[in-house]
Amino acid sequence: MPMSASTIEAAILAALPGATVELTDLAGDDDHWAATVTAPQFAGLSRVAQHKLVYAAFGGRMGGELHALQVTTVVPK
């Protein structure tokens, strides 16, 4: 079950207010996404903790409804 770019972006923004999200459709099938997320909430966190914040935005849908999301996290300068 694919997830649209606007749904993905809205979920991330709801979980991480003030973040910026850049999405790339890797396979052109609405099902394999790459997201670069820049969020002030990442400051001081390990990479694992940063990625967990992004995954948490999707609740249990990550790995199921949302099959593939390649995540890059960036701390704003």
């Binding site: 990479r47 694992v48 990625h51 967990k52 995954y55 999707f58 249990g60 990550m62 790995g63 593939a68 390649q70 995540v71 890059t72």
Partner: protein, 109 residues
Amino acid sequence: MSDANSRISDLVTANDVVLFMKGTPLFPQCGFSSRAIAILDHCGVTYETVDVLQDMEIRQGIKSFSDWPTIPQLYVKGEFLGGSDIMMEMFEAGELQQLMDESGVAKVG
């Protein structure tokens, strides 16, 4: 502790580097697992892999064990390092190779 948890705990304690993946190093069944193998091979370290597609208990168990929703997952010296995105970020920054060196992980050959 459930069976799955103790099995996973044994695996990551007994081996310096463990990759939980879909498929095998020669025949990865997912692009992310394939990328994780390529990164480990570039690091030139020895590693164990666990094919979660052959083991439903581990496939479900590893997600709660690591509190991480996706496969692949890399463990070094019993510590959860992350999935393939974090492996790639660390590799490109030279941090993964440095961590392997500092952890005294055996090199190939």
